[in-house]
Symmetry: C2
Subunit: 265 residues, 2 copies
DNA sequence: ACGCAGACTTGATTTGCATCAATTCGTCAT
DNA sequence: ATGACGAATTGATGCAAATCAAGTCTGCGT
């Protein structure tokens, strides 16, 4: 494991406040693994033996029922996933699949649970992280139960804008069919939702979306701090922040090799 | 505060494992309060100063946006709520309203946060509780994104049956319009969904629902342990259990004065 | 270059659910 | 009992989104 990777893990709010020993023990027992694109890392129902830390690439979390499938979240580096299952030593409720080639650190679950018992600051950090994830899901549910698909897309675009740079052009991070599933609609309807937003100044060219009329878009989207997390994600980590990592993605690095990452909250 | 109430709080998984001092300090700073039906306890956006422990009555958590409103959960005694906001010292993302006359214990948030720092076992319990709540929300999202309204109702009824007694008659715990909002539909459509279930042996008389053909109902509902939590809720608390309190309700007492309560998980 | 496969878009149609409207039912206050 | 209100049901209609079906565009391997 490269020391630069250890630095990145240490930068995570989950470990930032931990005792030096905690990080050392956790990373000692961990192993770094590479996966090709489109690999199942974990199937829902499987016992969860590791806490996963995504260092490079994108991972999709999804759920299935009765031959249907829905995307629950898409993760970007640096972020952890399935912490809740690790804490409870329970089976996974979501499946995890790589979208790109990925580099993932796997920390044994019992190392995490032991560390929580030994290191109160770490236990506190786990609680804060889980509380943030929880609140992110509350936002997601409100988003889905209270808004229609066009409104969800409009808010997603505004959120991207806020996270990226607040400019008038944003880049979609995923394939449109994946985005559609994340936003709870079919690919066909995502196309139509984009078409509907033309009226509000939005134009799409592949993954590049121009927001020509922010005012009009906001008038439609009615973004709400109690649903949408519009905090920019570039800069230093704010340890105190509401760790609300979940509305659609977790962290974001500023670019290749960039170390800076920031919480949503 | 009555000692019987303290006993009930001590019975919560959140406090069961805590150091004696933790419970003592928490309950010392707490105050017990009664509220009439239909009282707003907390408005979304408000800072959260207390951890709430519902000792008697029912509380609805709901969210609003753009003049729409949706029920996110309905709580029954004994259960805690807005723990995540307390841990992060953040504003509430959900509003809380009493449905009945309620008896609620309010524990200052900073007492909770201090206790977490001083008592590692308590911090661990908080993590476990939050992890359980988180997983409950994952189930809820899967339920909503993967099923239609009739399927959600069918599974809700089967869950009630499993929680209550596994008999062929269940009693709805809430008004139908509240249930409709919880299940993500209009009251009109809940009526129609019940009508659709007649075909599968379900008949409704007020709050009493007979499930005349469990097999047929299950064939429609296709209950799934990764979405639905069918564990019975009568008996002793299982401290190890997956604290998944959220799919629709939290705890349930077995009857007036009964002390036994059990986790979903 | 060519052909293929998969992503994306667009249109036609169907389905599910919300909305609007009217009526019944039960509960409570007078 | 009577009237009044809110909850629940039922029917008619409209809208949003899924589905089905072509078709275009793009990247990729041969």
């Amino acid at each position: 494991m490269r020391t630069s990777d250890i630095e990145r893990v240490k930068g995570l709010p989950l470990f930032a406040d931990a005792a030096p020993d905690t990080l050392r023990v956790a990373t000692a027992g961990a192993h770094l693994q590479r996966f090709p694109a489109n690999t199942m890392l974990l199937l829902e129902g499987d016992p969860v033996d590791f806490l996963y830390v995504l260092l490079d690439g994108q991972v999709e979390l999804h759920g299935t029922w009765n031959d249907r499938e829905t995307t629950l979240a898409i993760l970007r580096p640096v972020s952890t996933f399935i912490l809740a299952a690790v804490v409870l030593d329970a089976e996974a409720l979501m499946s995890a699949r790589t979208l790109d080639r990925c580099e993932i650190l796997m920390i044994p679950g019992d190392a995490i649970r032991t560390a929580m018992r030994l290191d109160p600051r770490f236990a506190m950090a786990v609680s804060r992280d889980l509380a943030g994830c929880y609140r992110g899901l509350v936002r997601t549910i409100k988003n889905h139960k209270l808004r229609n698909s066009t409104e969800r897309l409009a808010n997603y675009l505004l959120q991207l804008r806020a996270a990226d740079n607040s400019g008038s052009v944003v880049r979609l991070h995923h394939e449109k069919r994946v985005l559609a599933s994340l936003l709870g609609m079919t690919p066909e309807n995502l196309s139509r939702a984009f078409a509907a937003l033309q009226r509000h100044g939005v134009s799409v060219h592949g993954a590049v979306v121009s927001l020509g009329n922010i005012g009009a878009l906001e008038a439609l989207a009615k973004p709400d701090p109690l649903i949408d997390n519009h905090a920019p994600r570039i800069g230093d980590i704010i340890a105190d922040a509401d760790a609300e990592i979940w509305s659609s993605e977790w962290y974001k690095t500023t670019g290749p090799g960039a170390e800076a990452a920031k919480r949503h909250g």
